[in-house]
Symmetry: D2
Subunit: 462 residues, 4 copies
């Protein structure tokens, strides 16, 4: 089950005869990262063409839209509101006319000092037409009169603090940038377009490359500015002293598609390892391991393999759930969960069940799931979370609940266990999680678990 | 038949418990001035709420949208693209966050020096997110750090040249402005809201007041800035030496609804007078007067009355025409016109018919209408235009064809008569038209007829 | 203003390479006769293809639907619910598979003995899948095992009493039928399809022929069965002793489009004559004649011409009214009418106004219109109705209010005058109306005015 | 991956204060059995209320529709076209007015002698308004003048041969029927509605009961007519000599939801057993077992458990695929499959992979999947099908390809292996499948696998 809301997906391509169509596909493959709105900007003879709308990729774009988005370069964005509410004006990519031509930006992340930068910019006469923080970057670029966009970026970006993976389309370049912390993923690839030629592609996750038949080349490095034009790809650096790395570990816990490579690692394999280590850290005598589908499946496979307990699809997910659903007027117990998940009493009746989920945020959904599992006849329910207790919100581009709504920030594990009514409850340790991603707290940001925010946080500004 | 495309409608209200709902109605009544997009911004506790979309007022707003648009002040806009193409980003009202709070603007008109102002502003670091020229005013306001919005406007507006009637909503004011030329109409009214109280309303045309039961108070004067807040309405002036007046005569010829008062005159009565003077200037022996419905009806009534020839609805208009229509694959002669207009052969067969239309722009529609009238059996067709030959495009907020497509700019009246295949063709004289609006070329802009543009025109910038 | 709801439109064509497209256009031109649903059945290689839906013609059919409706023969139907409620199953044309192949029927009218026939048919094992009475005819045809469809119809139709104009499509014929009373109109035409050839077309009104460039040939006669196949058109008679004629006079009063020829007469000219005779029968000293648009316009022209009083568009109709409209939450007086009609105070202030409408059914709309006219400053309001008082419902295919809701059935003219608050109120006499349609009560049904129903009426069955 | 198209779902309830809402939910839970159209008929004071439409349950019904469907009894139907094409007129439940009142029918299955019955009925004067075979039953009931609906059914049903699970709603009863062969599932349950009372519910699958909190009571037995009214549930029999049982084994292979109990068995457990027996019958040295998601997952779990090879989600399914999807104009290899399924090269590169799918019909999809798996780097691909070769179409209510398109009907297993390019290919044996469902070919219909059709088949009539 969804732990918390997703963030955003970005995609870009240069030198592709089907640029907007490939961008559409790249967004389609990355739909899991943002379902609220979608947009594509293409570049044709130095001018930009825009199509954006609220909704899923498949609803926002029709054949005629893609035909209108001519040109051999394009960028795209799927958004789940982070800052900025759900206003139509915030749909990305943002585009604007600057002194040196049109610029469009797709942003995955969040600037933690956006409010201060906005205030400063307003004093200089900048106006803000939307409420999302990406607009700050446009203004900073606009205040630089240099002709060299890379130089403008090198001067503007150090003024912005936080998480950002960016795709930028100018009149003659596609630019891909990843912040010096490396919070969000960003990958570089090449798509064969015939005759041994290839186009360049940039995406949040490698699953976008798989769909369009592109080859993964490498990650965009933390602090790197990759600019691509008709002469090829060039690398530059964001100026300023390099700081610690802070790759978001939650990408591996929940956000990314299991079939993506993120930060150089298979997400599916990381999740299995999280399940394996979870089993080592928190064994329990039981009859079977049941995942909360779909997000808990890889960890449950790992838990099953390590523990030797059989893996069973004890909860079936209904994949025909649309976005709207008419409630019964009389209450049916745990109805909201039941419409999506159905525990199989034939499988779990009388059994001791280990239930594995990827994370536990508010606890209310877990409570309902366990209630359904007990109603289906389980003898014991052992809840296992394949990540540590979430104790802090994310300020780096994820739409998380406030601290007061994070159950683990307010309650002990025993209190949570009681609340969700599990026989036992255990979490993966931070160390276990780091081991699963072959990393350490020096390279990864685990602030939502350990409270070590890599940047200063002024909570009032958030 | 439509001579050329409409322009825009604006509306504003202050102090109304149903502010957004009244704005909705005010836009509904002014739908004839713009059918491409519509938007409302309301003010609630110092913050602005926005809803905008492509399409007719009735399609853009649903009950839930109006419920979300809380607050006792609001402005709205119907748009027909003038400059700026049809991009979603150009839907008005435009709104932005400035140093001193949110500002929303609804604009009817066009700045003729917008490109120069944009270029200047870009050099100062302004970015342009849309392509319509209203954004210039937002930037000019943003570069003024004064707290006094009226003062900011007084400093900004003299930098902009052209036609503008504006409604502006700030954090604590509704402001209505009409350019010093007075190109576009703008009227001020009051709506009773119970207990002897009233709200203030501003609209392009008085027909908006009629629908919501508001009383017409007066026109906003050319060069006037009316600002309305909780203490009442205040008047200020746009700075700079006053220039000639230039009220758009085409508002009376075609744009405005016949039941509106525009520039202090009943549009219906003006159009009847145009028909009467047309009959005096261009009499012809005939059996009847037939209007091209609906726009030619008032002038045809006037022509009939003056000439003594009977008024007949010889052409019937089908009002069930939707926005889309499937064409027959095999061609039916003059099909595009026929779906809307059907000449009645029972009425006109064997008759000498005076056909009255409000204006003649390209000539192609008139040609088709006359072909249908002849096919229905008319013996003679005398085409009478209740305005002079249109020889120049409008640069003041109307979406007109280029000069090369204005038939009267390229051809003599005799050539046009031959092209549309009328037995005779006559136009109203410029003098006759001025007489009909009780005015002169000193107060009215008739540049599309006489070429006397009230402002410098740099055609390259348009 | 609408007096009462419309009925239905039918259309058929045989031998046309664009059969379904012409049917679409024929329905489009007849949209005024039914806006609830629309359907087309085409015939291709002996099989029928169906597309039907709720809504206007332009909304029900898309290009792909017309492409699917292949074949050189088709029939179509626009419906306004008469009997049968608004169920989707009642959308016409109705089609069914009979022993001798597929049969589709489009019906304008109503069988007054439908319930008795249904009861009888159910006893014989017939099932009724919809609730409209047209299904009876399908069942009667099904119980006849003859191969000859004309013979089947000749045997079935005498069992059905009431009003019916029908288009029927079989596996090899287009059949057009008009009941012996001739209640509803039905016209026959030919459309040139190149090389001197033509297709046959059938429609409720001639305005459908005008749009598609077809030539009016003649009316289908009361009691006539016209069958059209590849050998041409053939005429047969409905069996049984001929009864009186009963052509619906309300077609001329309100239903038909003014540009149609109905029962051999121009509707526009009839309406003008109604206005002229109304002026002769009910003169009044006044300053002007104002129509209630659009339906009162022709009669007002007649009234003006006869009386010598000037014709003025004193009430302007807003043609941008969509099908949905959000009401203000606080009441605005007479709002429902005001959104459509706006009296011009500039025109009528201080004037004695003759207001002409086509008919007056419930009186509530007239009351609101007069209230608006008075609020606009009229000194006197003289209401003139271009038809007699409506005192009875229609049982012949029109959706009318019950007798209890017909104000003239319950109240004297003086009481009605008082209710609508007119200074004077007069109606056209039945004799005057008959004179206007060049006929008498022997050929026309005027039952809604004079109570002389041409058939027995069992009110319980209705 | 889908092997072949689904069939239909039915649902009924009696005595429920939220009857239509529960029916909506019951259909929602059974959406997997039919996605083309959906309909509900409710019973209110002896009259039936209908709402039907094309599309998914969530799209067809809105809150206002359910509010209109008042009453304490209702039936519903999800349809995937079997016979009858996709015409709107065929959306079920079918309803009709008979001599003794309204009757509505929801049908899962197919009458194999429908054409003969139709021909006979047409001779008796019946008309067929749709093309689906359920209409036959309505006509047979209509020709019986008895007041006793159960008696009518007992006389009508022996005339119909084939597969049918039915829910029927009359003016005073809910009736559930299963054909004597027992082809399709049908289950009976009770839903608590407070105060110790319960309503009766009928559904195709038990997963519908789970969602609404109803308790499974028992299966409707083959040949049983269960009628439910206000006095309770009563059982009767379809007349005629009982024949062999013929429960559809494909319900367990693919159709039913894994969390349903079908024919008294857990579908999930059957599928796991199929996988286990498949592993016993067709072992192969390999590194992992990978399911084709989602349908192959349970069998893959069984295969993995039996073989000891690790279970891996080597192919990831994208669940955000909407119903429309814009293709790239330039071809991307195997694009159609890739948009749904993405093999993980990190998992399978260099590995010997056993791929498990539920069935193999045409072979084209399997070919594409294997191509993707090979492109992802698998060393060996061993394809294992958890059912026998499909050699015959289904005539009992499933939309299957013709025999000529069933690859196993035309080719040897070796030829198929070569076509799909697997290293090895094996199927489950018919005996193994029967063992998995704890049954034999005497009780189950496995005609699509073994050609033993339980009824005479006249292929021309199908």
């Amino acid at each position: 089950m969804h732990s918390w809301h997703e963030e955003c997906a970005i995609f870009g391509t240069w030198g592709d005869p089907e640029a907007s169509r490939m961008t559409y596909l790249g967004l389609y493959a990355q739909q899991h990262r943002g379902q609220e709105s979608s947009g594509i900007v293409s570049l044709h003879e130095g001018a930009q063409i825009v199509h954006k709308g609220m909704g899923l990729v498949g609803d926002v774009f029709h054949e005629s839209d893609l035909q209108r988005l001519v040109g051999t370069a394009a960028i795209g964005h799927n958004r789940y509101s982070t800052t900025g509410g759900s206003l139509q004006d915030n749909i990305q990519p943002l585009s604007a006319e600057l002194l040196n031509g049109p610029v469009a930006i797709g942003h995955n992340g969040n600037f933690v000092n956006a409010q201060a930068v906005r205030d400063e910019l307003k004093k200089k006469g900048s106006i803000f037409q939307g409420t999302n923080d990406t607009e700050c970057l446009l203004h900073l670029l606009a205040h630089n009169r240099s002709d060299d966009m890379i130089k403008c970026l090198q001067e503007a970006l150090p003024q912005l603090v936080g998480a950002y993976s960016l795709v930028i389309l100018t009149k003659d370049k596609l630019i891909a940038i990843r912040d010096p912390f490396g919070f969000r993923p960003l990958v570089l690839g090449q798509r064969p377009i015939g005759d041994g030629s290839f186009s360049w592609v940039v995406a949040s996750e490698t699953c976008a490359f798989d769909l369009i038949g592109a080859k993964f080349v490498r990650e965009v490095e933390p602090g790197e500015i990759v600019s691509i034009d008709n002469k090829g790809a060039h690398s530059a650096r964001i100026l300023g002293k390099p700081q610690r790395l802070a790759k978001c570990v939650f990408e591996h816990v929940y956000f990314a598609r299991p079939d993506s490579q993120v930060f150089g690692l298979s997400v599916y394999e990381s999740r299995k390892r999280m399940g394996e280590i979870l089993a080592i850290e928190n064994p329990v005598p039981a009859d079977m391991v049941v995942p909360v589908p779909d997000s808990g499946v890889p960890a449950a496979i790992g838990y099953s393999r390590q523990s030797g307990l059989p893996f069973e699809l004890g909860i079936i997910r209904n994949h025909y759930i649309g976005r709207t659903f008419i409630q019964p007027s009389q209450s049916i117990r745990s109805f909201g969960v039941k419409i999506k998940l159905n525990p199989q009493s034939e499988v779990i009746r009388g059994k001791r069940v280990v239930v594995v989920d990827d994370s536990l945020v508010r606890g209310t959904t877990s409570q309902k799931i366990i209630r359904l599992i007990r109603a289906a006849g389980a003898k014991e329910v052992h809840f296992r979370i394949a990540s540590p207790p979430t104790t802090g919100p994310c300020y780096y581009g994820v739409d998380t609940p406030r601290k007061s709504q994070l159950i683990a920030a307010q309650h002990s594990i025993e209190e949570i266990r009681e609340f969700i009514d599990a026989d036992t409850l255990s979490y993966l340790s931070v160390e276990g999680m780091m081991k699963a991603v072959h990393g350490s707290e020096k390279e990864f940001c685990a602030a939502c678990f350990d409270g070590n925010y890599p940047t200063p946080i002024n909570e009032e500004n958030i």
